[in-house]
C-alpha cells in the first residue's frame, strides 16, 4: 500500500485528485453534500456505498459527465470543473463495458490512440502490448459479440489504459461477472494497478470487493463521505454504526455510562470511557462486535482481565461449510451474531438451539462507536 505513495517514478504516470466542497443536487435531493476527498497520486481508492448513496455521481463528476452545483475538482493542481470529458485524459470503464460493437477488439483498443493521432505503427504496437497485458494477445481480430463476459471486461480495461491516462475511473466494472470470475478479476485488477501505477477511483457496492482491492476505502452514504481509511482500519475501527453495519457482519450492542464515565454493557465494564477521537453525538455509545472475533470461553480465559465474557443461549445454529454461524441471545434481549471456524472435531458436538454457552471477546477486538438512539 505505502509504496504507491513513493513519489519519483510515479509522478509521470499518475496524478492526485483533490475534491473540495463538492455539492450536486437533483431537485431538493442532495446527491453529493459538500464532499471533500484527497486522492493521492497512484492510489487505489474505492467509493463504497449502497445504491443511491452518491458514489456514482461523484465518479461521474470526476469524469466530467455531470456538472456539480458548486465545489472544485483538481487533477494535480489544475481545476477541472469546466473541462469537458474528452479533455480530462481519464480512462474509464463502465459496468456495461460499453464496447463498440461495430469495431473489432483491436479497433476498440486503438480508438483512443487514433483520436490522439498516434501513427499507425505505434498504434499497432501499443494495442498489442495492451492486449498482452490483459491476456488477450490472440484475440485482436475478434468481433465483440464473439467474446465472453470476462474477455469483454478485459478489452474495456485495455481500451481505458492504452493511452496512458494518469487517472483511471471504474464504475462497478465487475458486477456483471459471476462470482468466481469476479474474484479472479479483482486480483488481476489489483496487479494491473500496481503495474501501471495510475491513480484509480473505483466504485462498487460490494464491500468484500472494496476490502480486497483498495489502498483506501471511502464509505459514502446519503451524499456524504462517512469514513475514509485503509481497509483494515475501516473493518477494525468503524467510526459509526452505518460503517460497522455496511462493512462485514457485526452486532451493535448499546452501552451505558456509569457515574464515573465508564462504559458498561449490562453491568459489565467495557471501557474507562469513550474513545478520544470519536465525536460524541449525544446519543450515547455502542459496542461493535465482529462475529468471527467471538470465541467460546473455557477455564483458561475466565478471569482474564483482557477478555470480556458473555453468557448466552443459542437461538439458531447453522453449518455453512467453511464456517458455522450462530445467533446467541445475550442478557435476554440482545441477539449476538457469532461465527466459528469449522473442523471435523468441534462439530461432533454441534450446538443445539437452547444450549447455554459462555462466550469471550478480547478487549483488543472491541470497537466503541457513537450510539444510534
Amino acid at each position: 500500500m505505502a509504496n504507491n505513495v513513493n513519489n519519483e517514478p510515479q509522478i509521470e504516470s499518475a496524478l492526485p485528485i483533490t475534491v473540495k466542497n463538492l455539492t450536486k443536487t437533483y431537485g431538493d435531493m442532495y446527491a453529493l453534500n459538500n464532499v471533500d476527498v484527497d486522492i493521492k497520486s497512484g492510489e487505489f481508492l474505492t467509493l463504497l456505498g449502497p445504491s443511491g448513496s452518491g458514489k456514482t455521481t461523484l465518479l461521474m463528476a470526476i469524469a466530467g459527465f455531470n456538472r456539480p452545483d458548486s465545489g472544485s475538482i483538481k487533477f494535480g493542481g489544475n481545476e477541472m470543473i469546466l473541462t469537458p470529458p474528452h479533455k480530462r485524459d481519464v480512462g474509464m470503464v463502465f459496468q456495461s463495458y460499453a464496447l463498440f460493437p461495430h469495431m473489432t477488439v483491436a479497433e476498440n483498443v486503438a480508438f483512443p490512440l487514433k483520436l490522439r493521432k498516434v501513427n499507425a505503427a505505434e498504434i499497432k504496437e501499443r494495442v498489442a502490448t495492451a492486449l498482452e497485458t490483459v491476456q488477450l494477445g490472440e484475440l485482436g481480430n475478434r468481433d465483440i459479440d464473439q467474446l465472453s463476459g470476462g474477455q469483454r471486461q478485459r478489452v474495456a480495461l485495455a481500451r481505458a489504459f492504452v493511452f496512458k491516462p494518469r487517472i483511471l475511473l471504474m464504475d462497478e466494472p465487475l458486477s456483471a461477472l459471476d462470482k468466481k470470475l469476479r474474484e479472479q478479476m479483482q486480483i488481476e485488477l489489483k496487479q494491473l494497478h500496481r503495474q501501471l501505477g495510475v491513480t484509480t477511483v473505483y466504485v462498487t457496492h460490494d464491500q468484500r470487493e472494496a476490502l480486497t482491492m483498495s489502498d483506501r476505502i471511502a464509505i459514502i452514504n446519503g451524499g456524504e463521505i462517512v469514513q475514509i481509511d485503509t481497509p483494515d482500519v475501516i473493518y477494525n475501527s468503524p467510526s459509526n454504526s452505518f460503517v460497522a453495519d455496511f462493512i462485514g457482519e457485526s452486532t451493535i450492542l448499546p452501552l451505558r455510562a456509569d457515574a464515573s464515565g465508564k462504559l458498561l454493557f449490562e453491568n459489565q465494564p467495557i471501557s474507562d470511557g469513550p474513545p478520544e477521537n470519536m465525536h460524541d453525538n449525544g446519543k450515547g455509545w455502542a459496542l461493535v462486535v465482529r462475529p468471527e472475533r467471538v470465541f467460546i470461553s473455557d477455564e483458561s480465559t475466565s478471569g482474564d482481565e483482557n477478555v470480556v465474557s458473555f453468557d448466552g443461549i443459542v437461538k439458531e445454529f447453522v453449518f455453512q461449510g467453511d464456517s458455522a454461524f450462530a445467533l446467541i441471545t445475550v442478557a435476554e434481549k440482545h441477539e449476538l451474531s457469532v461465527r466459528f471456524g469449522t473442523n471435523s472435531a468441534s462439530f461432533q458436538n454441534a450446538l443445539q438451539s437452547g444450549d447455554k454457552i459462555s462466550l469471550g471477546l478480547n478487549l483488543s477486538d472491541i470497537t466503541i462507536i457513537p450510539g444510534d438512539e
Binding site: A63, G64, F65, P84, P85, H86, R88, D89, V90, G91, M92, F94, S96, A98, L99, F100, P101, H102, F111, P112, L115, R116, A156, R159, A160, F163, L169
Partner: protein
C-alpha cells in the same frame, strides 16, 4: 387430411380447429391487397377505357406515359421533391430524436409530442393551413414550399424510427468515447451513428415515400411546372379516365413496394447484428 389433425402450436390446437382463423386472415389480406393489385392487369389493357379483365393485352399505356413530356416532367418533379424532403427531414428528425432522447429534460416529451403532431392531425388541415400561410409569403407552387410541407409530414416518421433505435443503444458507449478523447459531436458520428445507421436509412426511405406518395398537400400547394405526379394523376382522373393512370399506378405500386421491402430488409439486418 392428416394436416388438419396436426398441432398448430405448443398448445394442442390442431390446424383443423384453426381453419376459421386462416380463412378470416385470407379474407382480410385479399380486401387489403386486391384494390391495389387490380390496377396492374388493367394497365396492360389495349382498351381506351379502364376495363377489367382486359379483353386485349398491350403496353400502349406505358408508352403513352413514357412518351408524354407532361407526365415525365411531373415524375421528375416528384422524384426531386421526394429526394429533397428526404435530405431535409432525415437530419432534422435524427437530430431532434437524439436530442430529446438524451436530454431527459421534463419538456422533452412535450416537444416530442409537438413534433409528431403532423402525423396525428388530418392531412387536409395541414394542407389548408399550408395553402394559406404559403400564400401569404408567396411560396405556393414552389418546390421549396412543397418540400417544406412534406418535411413536416416526414419528420415524425424519422423521429419515431430513430428513437426506437436509440432505445436499443447503450448511451454509455458515447460516454466512453468522450472519456477516451472524442468531442461529443465526433463521438456521435464515430460511435452512435454507425450503430443506428440502418434505422436512419430506413427513416430516410420512409421520408422519401411520404413525399412521393403524398396527394392532398400536393393538390393544394403544387401546380404548374411544379405539380407532382400525384397531383397530375388526381387531375387526370377528374378530367378523363384512361388507362395511363393504371400504368402509372402500377409503377408507383412497384416503386413503393420495393422501397418498403428495402426498409424491411435493412431493419432485419440491424436486428441480426445485435
Amino acid at each position: 387430411m392428416s394436416w388438419l389433425k396436426k398441432a398448430a402450436s405448443d398448445t394442442q390446437i390442431t390446424h383443423g380447429n384453426r381453419i376459421w382463423l386462416y380463412v378470416f386472415a385470407a379474407i382480410v389480406m385479399i380486401l387489403l391487397v386486391v384494390p391495389t393489385l387490380i390496377v396492374i392487369p388493367m394497365s396492360f389493357s389495349d382498351s381506351q377505357y379502364l376495363e377489367f379483365p382486359p379483353s386485349k393485352w398491350s403496353l400502349r399505356w406505358y408508352h403513352e406515359y413514357l412518351d408524354s413530356p407532361k407526365w415525365m416532367r411531373a415524375t421528375v418533379k416528384s422524384l426531386q421533391i421526394g429526394t429533397l424532403t428526404m435530405l431535409v427531414a432525415t437530419p432534422i428528425g435524427v437530430a431532434a430524436a437524439y436530442a430529446l432522447f438524451v436530454s431527459g429534460h421534463k419538456a422533452a416529451r412535450l416537444i416530442f409530442m409537438f413534433l409528431i403532431t403532423p402525423m396525428i392531425v388530418p392531412v387536409i388541415l395541414i394542407a389548408i393551413g399550408a395553402f394559406y400561410v404559403f400564400g401569404q409569403i408567396g411560396i405556393n407552387n414552389t418546390v421549396f414550399g412543397i418540400v417544406l410541407a412534406h418535411t413536416a409530414l416526414a419528420i415524425p416518421l424519422v423521429m419515431i424510427v430513430t428513437t426506437s433505435a436509440l432505445r436499443n443503444y447503450d448511451l454509455n458507449q458515447e460516454r466512453v468515447a468522450r472519456s477516451l478523447g472524442a468531442p461529443r459531436i465526433k463521438a456521435f458520428f464515430l460511435i452512435t451513428l454507425p450503430q443506428i445507421k440502418f434505422s436512419v436509412m430506413t427513416s430516410a426511405l420512409l421520408a422519401f415515400l411520404t413525399s412521393f406518395d403524398e396527394v392532398i398537400i400536393s393538390i393544394f400547394i403544387s401546380g404548374g411546372v411544379n405539380a407532382t405526379i400525384t397531383k397530375h394523376m388526381f387531375s387526370a382522373l377528374r378530367d378523363y379516365i384512361d388507362p395511363t393512370i393504371a400504368a402509372i399506378s402500377t409503377i408507383l405500386v412497384i416503386v413503393s413496394t420495393v422501397l418498403l421491402l428495402t426498409t424491411q430488409y435493412i431493419s432485419s439486418r440491424e436486428k441480426k447484428k445485435k
